[in-house]
Symmetry: C2
Subunit: 346 residues, 2 copies
């Protein structure tokens, strides 16, 4: 492969553990409600509809790149979007989250879940292709939800604090659980494959809520399915990033599942996070999003600390420890991006 | 002190790290909505009112002891109850949680928060005295919320997922934060002192949400205030238990704050938890409450594992890793209590 500006972009260099001109930075959920321009284009348009309109996906994905000057774009989508595209009845309710019409209780419920094919989602292919063309040297990260986190919505019927029904299925009916998680691995694989084949330069698999599980449960009930996703995407040769909040106990296992880069929330310093991986790998993170509201005097030393701790990793992609809160001030995010890029280039 | 049946109760023996006839067991939030007899006596009576009526506090505290045969009772209260008793305007909304009328933003807000005196809460003294008399050889655990968790409700105005305003205050206005947390330490000390002086045999300080903090933030902003609470209660000579969910990264610090017993959620096995403490101490936990819904076949091996792992600690008090869910089946809890007591006595 010839070395292009994209191939030598700070994000991809860091994700491969190669030397970088500056520490790359982007923000999880950077395309979202914190941006007035996002709220404007989404007005009166449902999440599902916006995910099916290439013009909107392109615009929304590009907005934070323009505004913040971040080193990567992430494909605008939702973890349940590929289920919806394939006809599964789940709604993303504003202010609540995904709500399943018919929570999964048995094998018949699983039958309604199917992976997309490229033919199902021409709008996804079109949006990715156009984004790659417009982004030039800035990489586009493909997006999908991991089997456990997606399953939790399908089994609980909506957002949950304790995942009681999901864990009850794991322990009480492991066969059913594994069938569901395996199906959801196929859903993630198919959706990510469409994005990578259309030109995405990396993928991030979000297992946002995996931190609710003990390492024992994670290893037995979740790891095999996330590993299937990573393995299936290996041949594409793009960096595979894995992230969940509250995963201090799980970092080694999530890494062992086959991630090339491991995302870390704010609870574990990056130098300690690297020690917990199965083998040293690049890491992503990990400014506490709550700090966005604490004033620049409080933010700057935290960035300095995180950049220092990140030097202990083979590669560091700066990010928040979780998604951008909807009420964050875009000016603060812009200042953080600029500061990370400038400070780390010194 | 002469050796009484109370003094030789399995709970107090385990909390002191002495040999036990069986592993003691109780359940956090054992007095609560999972019990039909609780729902009945609470009908039409607000949380605050029920906390101010000794007859109700006694009845509700005793209900799970009767029903489950647990080895300890915990004083029925709420973490914001002592604030209410002292005139602070905060309401416990059913299905939501504590909601503050006037969230704290400045020093004037803190002035409205004051510790109770024994004279403020004759109903608390009366309820504890009557409970101790009725409980006989079963210990009563005193109850209070820790400064951080209580502060989070006062600063956010209600329950929060990310504690953004609380963390913003810590980092953006540390002086104000420390003044508030110090005041809330006094609130906890005063409320626990009333309970211990009326006869409670142990205390548990709930820092339920401390796990939202990084160890760095915990150590700087929270530990000194929780340590003040433990230090103030030291001279009473009763075991002091400390608990929060999601505190895998914080166990050593929470222990170092001055706890005699450290509660552990389901994410960290008890043998590993003991290794994380500043010095080996008795531990409490740690069955995942979600397992209550998974069927006995799934529960029994988990109890066996936890009892085995607990043997690595100087003492083990069996409990859930968090509170009893409102929709838990009391028969399952009863069976767990019986099983723990029988199995561990073999």
């Amino acid at each position: 492969m010839p070395s292009t500006s994209l191939d030598r972009s700070p994000y991809l260099l860091a994700a491969r553990g190669e030397p970088v001109p500056h520490t790359p930075v982007w923000f999880m959920r950077q395309a979202g409600r914190a941006l007035p321009e996002y709220r404007k284009v989404r007005e009166g348009i449902s999440m599902l509809e916006s995910c099916m309109r290439p013009d909107l996906v392109v615009e929304i994905t590009l907005q934070p790149v323009r505004r913040y000057g971040v080193d990567a774009a992430i494909f605008f989508s939702d973890i349940v979007a590929p289920l919806q595209f394939a006809g599964y009845d789940i709604e993303i309710k504003p202010g609540i989250g995904p709500v399943a019409a018919d929570p999964i209780r048995d094998a018949a419920g699983i039958a309604a879940v199917r992976p997309v094919t490229a033919a199902d989602v021409p709008y996804t292919t079109e949006a990715v292709q156009q984004l790659v063309s417009e982004l030039g040297g800035t990489p586009l990260i493909g997006f999908a939800g991991a089997p456990f986190t997606v399953a939790s919505y399908l089994v609980e019927g909506g957002p949950s604090k304790d995942f009681a029904k999901t864990k009850a299925m794991m322990h009480g009916n492991p066969e059913l659980w594994h069938a569901l998680a395996d199906r959801l691995a196929d859903v993630a694989i198919a959706y990510l494959a469409v994005q990578v084949e259309a030109g995405a330069s990396a993928i991030q698999l979000f297992d946002s809520w995996a931190g609710g599980l003990s390492p024992r449960d994670y290893e037995r009930f979740v790891l095999p399915h996330s590993a299937k996703v990573f393995e299936a995407l290996k041949s594409y040769g793009v960096p595979r990033v894995h992230f969940g909040v509250n995963t201090g106990e799980l970092l080694g296992l999530m890494s062992a599942a086959g991630a090339d880069v491991v995302g870390v929330d704010w609870r574990v310093p990056l130098d300690e996070a690297v020690r917990r991986l199965d083998t040293p790998k690049p890491v992503q993170g990990n400014l506490d999003p709550a700090l966005l509201f604490a004033g620049w005097e409080a933010i700057e030393p935290e960035i300095d600390r995180i950049l220092d701790e990140g030097k202990k990793a083979p590669g560091h992609i700066f990010n928040l420890g979780h998604g951008v809160p909807p009420d964050a001030d875009p000016d603060v995010l812009q200042r953080i991006a600029k500061y990370v890029q400038t400070r780390s280039a010194q």
